[in-house]
Amino acid sequence: MFHAKKPSTMNSHDRPICVQGDSGLVLTTDPKPRLRWTVELHERFVDAVTQLGGPDKATPKTIMRVMGVKGLTLYHLKSHLQKFRLGKQPHKEFNDHSVKDSDRATSLELQRNSASSSGMIGRNMNEMQVEVQRRLHEQLEVQRHLQLRIEAQGKYMQTILEKACQTLGGEENMALPARTFKGIGNQGGLIPDISAAFKEFGAPPLSFSSFQDLNICGGQEQQLELHAQSSGMGERSSSFDGFMNLGNDSTDHNLSLGRKRPSPYSNGGNGNGKSPLMWSDDFRLQEIGGATGGASGLGPNNEDDHHIIQMAPLSMESSCNPELDSVSDIYESKPILRDEKKFDAKLERPSLRRAPQISSLSAQGGRNSVFG
C-alpha cells in the first residue's frame, strides 16, 4: 500500500512519531517497528521491480539485492510485493506492453486502488483514458523508432554496396576516363551498342527518380551527373515492350541506373538521411527537376557518349547472362512521361499515406487501425 509521507496519515495504532533511521528508512517507534513505505522508498521499490522484469518475475530476494537498502528485510519486501502484485492485477495486461510507462502507470493505479470502492467506476474510466493515451503515445514512439531503424539499415546497406562496388570495380578493367565511376559489370562490347542505342532516343525529358541516386558507387558529383544524364534516359521507348524488343542489354543499362523509390538511404543524391521510403522521394523529385534544368545542355554529342559509357558500368551486369538481368535494367520501365506521372503518383503515395496515418493516429482512427 502506498502511504503518503505525512505523519497525519498514520495508522491509529502508531504513536505519531516517525523516526528516520540511518539507512533512510522510516520506522515507527512502536514496540513492533513497522516499516513506513514512503514515496521515495516505494519508488525505489517499483524501479527495482521493473528492472527485474515486473512484479511476477521479481522476488523479494532479488528486489532486496537490487534496491540495496539497508535494514530492509525480506519480510518487508514480501508483504509489500504481494500487495503490489494484487494492486497491479487488473492492470497487468497493458503494463506488460510498455516498460517505460509502467512506472508512471503503476503509481497511478496504486493510488486508484487505494481509493474506495465507490470510486471504482471513475477509476475504470480513468484507466481507459490513460490506456488510450498511452497507446497513442507509444505508437508515435514506435513510428519514430521505425524510421530511425530503417535509416540505420539503409546506411549499413550503403557500406555493403560501396564495398561491393569497389570489389567488383577492381575486378573489371575499366578503360574509361577516371570519373570516379567504378566500373562494375562488363562493358566491353557493350559500349558501342550503348551509345548507338542511346542515340536512338530523343532528348532528355523528365526522368524521374528512378535514376536518381543509384549511388552504388561514386560520390556526389556523379550523382548529379547521373541525374542529368538519366533525364536523358527517361524518354525512351514507349512501352515496356519496347524494352524487351531492344534485344540487347545496352539500352537497358542506360535506363535504370537509378534506384526506385525507396532507395539507398544515400547521402549522395539527396543528402539527407531521412527515411528513404518517404521523404527522400519527394526530395529527389525536386532534385531531378533541378538536374533536368541542367541537363538541357546535354545533347547528342560526344559528351553524351561519355556519360553513357559512364553509366553503363553501373549496371551490374551478369556476365554469364547476356540477357540483361542487371541492376540497370531493373528500373527500366519509366520510359514514358505518361508512365512517369503514374509513377510519380505512386511515389507520392507513400508520403501521402503517411500523413493521414499520423493525423489519424491522434484521431484514434487510422488505416492500420492500431486499436484492433
Binding site: T50, L52, G53, T62, F94, D96, H97, S98, V99, K100, R135, E138, Q139, E141, V142, H145, L146, L148, R149, I150, E151, A152, Q153, Y156, M157, T159, L161, K163, A164, T167, L168, G185, F240, F243, D252, R259, K260, S263, L277, M316, E317, S318, S319, C320, E323, L324, D325, S326, V327, I330, Y331, E332, S333, D339, F343, P350, R353, Q357, N368, V370
Partner: protein
C-alpha cells in the same frame, strides 16, 4: 491470379483450396490420355513422337480455344465456361485486378486464361512425374510445352512463375531419370554461387525495397530483443546465419539510442559459419564482422564480434561458444528469408537444441509459413501449395512495383527461382511428407516457452507494412508469433521463445 472455378464450387480462397477443383479437371485429362484403347482420343503414348498433336493430348478440350484467344489477344471468342467462371469470381486475389481498371477486363481474362493453362499444365506435369499414372514421357512432353509457353522473362507473373517451376520440374525429371538428385538441386546455395555477385547484390537491394519481408523479419526480432534486454548491460547474440549482418545495424541503432535502463549495453555477436560450401553472398563471415564492427564504431555502440565454426556436418556444439557471465544470451535464427540459402533440417535442429542447453534469454525465429499438408496429398498437393505460395509472393512483388518487370524478373531469377527448385526437390525427395513444417512448433515441442509479442512490436509491424502495399497483412497468432501475409496467403512468420526463467 484468377483461377478457374468449377461451377459447382461457388467461391474459394484464391491461394488455398484450389487443389480440389483443378485436381478433378486435370485428372480427367490425364486419365483420358493415358488410358489407351477405349476412347476416341486415341493418344497412344507408345508410339508418340516429339511433335505431339495437342488436340489428342488435351482430349480436344478448350486449350485450342485458349491458344486462339491468346493469339487474338482477347477472349471474347471463347464464350465458354471458363470465361463465365472467371468473370463471375469476385474474390480480390486476382493478380491483375488491382492494377487494371475495369475496361481492360478483356486483357485480364485472356491473361488469366493463359495463366490457368499454365497451371493446368504444371499440375499435369507434377502428376505425370509422381502421380498414380506415372509417366516420364508424358511429363517430358508437358514440360516441353511449358517451355514454349513460359519464359523466365515473360510479361506476366504467371508466365515467369511457370517458367521457374518448369525448370524445377525439369531438374527433377532429369535427376530422377539419371537416378540421382543432385545436391545442387536440393539446396539452392549452389545456384547462387553461379550467379554474378553484382546480380545478387542488386537483386537483394531490390528485394529489400520492393517488399517488407526482410525488414519484417529483422525488425520484429530486433524489437523483441530490445524489450528483452531493456535492463541489461551486456548482450550476447548468437546468430545462426548472419549473412551480411544487416539485421544488426538497426538493432545497434536502437540500443545506442535507448532511453531507459542502463546506457548502451555492450553488444557481442557470435556468428556461426559453416565449413561446407554454403552460399557466400558477397563476403565471408569475417567480412561481415569487420563491417559490423566499423558500423558499430561509427555510431558509438560498444561491440565485439566472434566467429564460431560449425562442424562439417553442421552440428552445433554449444561448448564452442564463448560465454560471459552476466550477459543476456539471445539466439537469433533467421530461416527462409528470401535471400537466404536453405539450411538442412538437421543443422537447424542441432542448432536449436544445442541452444536450449544454454538457457538463452530469448530465441527469435523467422521462417517461412507453410500450410501443413495432409499426407494423402503427396507430392502434387505440396507442389500446388508451393505454387500458390510463390504466386502470392510474385503477386506481392508486382503490386509494389507493377512496372518494373525487369527488376522483379531479376529478383525472381536470383532468389526465387533457386528456392523453387530447391523446394520442389525436397518435396520430391520426401514424397510430399514434410520433414519439419514449422520450426516454431518444433521449438514448442522441445520445451521452449512462448514469449509475448508486445503491442509495440505488433504496432511496428503494422506501420512497416503500411509503407508498402495494402495487400500485406500482419496477423498475430497465438501470443508469440506475427505472421506476414499477402492477401489471404501467409508467407513469413516471426516468433519469439524463451526458456524457463531461473530466479534472476
Amino acid at each position: 491470379m484468377a483461377m478457374m472455378v468449377d461451377e459447382t464450387i461457388p467461391d474459394f480462397d484464391c491461394y488455398g483450396s484450389l487443389t480440389t477443383s483443378i485436381n478433378t479437371t486435370t485428372t480427367t485429362t490425364t486419365t483420358t490420355t493415358t488410358s489407351s484403347s477405349e476412347d476416341d482420343h486415341s493418344c497412344t503414348w507408345n508410339d508418340w513422337w516429339p511433335v505431339v498433336d495437342w488436340d489428342d493430348f488435351t482430349g480436344g478440350d478448350n486449350f485450342q480455344d485458349l491458344i486462339e484467344s491468346m493469339i487474338q489477344g482477347n477472349n471474347s471468342s471463347s464464350g465458354n465456361y471458363l470465361y463465365n467462371s472467371i468473370s463471375s469470381e469476385d474474390d480480390s486475389g486476382g493478380m491483375m485486378e488491382e492494377e487494371y481498371p475495369e475496361d481492360s477486363n478483356n486483357n485480364n481474362q485472356s491473361e488469366d486464361i493463359n495463366g490457368l493453362k499454365l497451371v493446368h499444365l504444371l499440375m499435369a506435369a507434377a502428376e505425370a512425374l509422381t502421380g498414380v499414372n506415372k509417366s516420364r514421357e508424358l511429363a517430358r512432353v508437358i514440360l516441353v510445352r511449358l517451355k514454349d509457353l513460359a519464359s523466365p522473362n515473360g510479361a506476366t507473373n504467371m508466365e515467369r512463375l511457370a517458367a521457374h517451376f518448369t525448370e524445377a520440374l525439369q531438374a527433377l525429371l532429369d535427376g530422377a531419370a539419371s537416378g540421382t538428385l543432385h545436391a545442387k538441386h536440393m539446396f539452392s546455395p549452389n545456384y547462387k554461387d553461379e550467379q554474378h555477385q553484382g546480380d545478387v547484390l542488386a537483386a537483394f537491394q531490390l528485394l529489400q525495397d520492393m517488399s517488407p519481408f526482410v525488414k519484417f523479419g529483422h525488425f520484429t526480432a530486433n524489437q523483441a530483443i530490445l524489450e528483452s534486454v531493456a535492463h541489461d548491460k551486456r548482450v550476447h547474440i548468437v546468430d545462426y546465419d548472419i549473412m551480411e549482418g544487416i539485421q544488426w545495424a538497426s538493432l545497434m541503432q536502437a540500443l545506442v539510442s535507448r532511453k531507459y535502463g542502463p546506457p548502451t549495453p555492450h553488444l557481442r555477436i557470435t556468428a556461426l559459419s559453416r565449413s561446407g560450401s554454403g552460399r557466400r553472398s558477397f563476403g565471408t563471415v569475417q567480412e561481415t564482422g569487420r563491417r559490423l564492427t566499423a558500423f558499430a564504431a561509427s555510431i558509438g555502440q560498444p561491440f565485439s564480434f566472434h566467429h564460431c565454426r560449425l562442424d562439417s556436418d553442421e552440428t552445433f556444439k554449444p561448448t564452442n561458444l564463448k560465454l560471459v557471465r552476466g550477459e543476456a544470451l539471445i539466439i537469433n535464427c533467421m530461416l527462409h528469408l528470401l535471400h537466404f540459402s536453405y539450411r538442412a533440417s538437421n543443422s537447424v535442429a542441432s542448432f536449436l537444441s544445442g541452444s536450449k542447453t544454454l538457457n538463452p534469454r530469448l530465441v527469435t525465429l523467422v521462417e517461412e509459413e507453410v500450410r501443413p499438408i495432409g499426407e494423402e496429398e503427396g507430392f502434387v498437393g505440396r507442389f500446388m501449395d508451393t505454387l500458390h505460395h510463390y504466386s502470392a509472393l510474385y503477386d506481392s512483388l508486382e503490386a509494389g512495383f507493377p512496372l518494373q518487370i525487369r527488376a522483379r524478373a531479376l529478383v525472381e531469377r536470383v532468389f526465387l527461382g533457386p528456392r523453387i527448385t530447391g523446394s520442389l526437390a525436397r518435396i520430391y525427395r520426401t514424397h510430399g511428407n514434410d520433414e519439419i513444417c514449422s520450426w516454431g512448433e518444433w521449438l514448442g515441442d522441445v520445451g521452449f516457452l512462448e514469449s509475448n509479442i508486445s503491442f509495440a512490436n505488433h504496432c511496428q509491424a503494422k506501420l512497416l507494412l503500411g509503407l508498402f502495399n495494402d495487400g500485406y497483412r500482419v496477423e498475430e497468432i497465438g501470443t508469440n508469433k506475427l505472421v506476414l501475409g499477402w492477401k489471404s496467403r501467409r508467407l513469413l512468420s516471426a516468433s519469439i521463445w524463451t526458456t524457463t526463467d531461473t530466479d534472476l
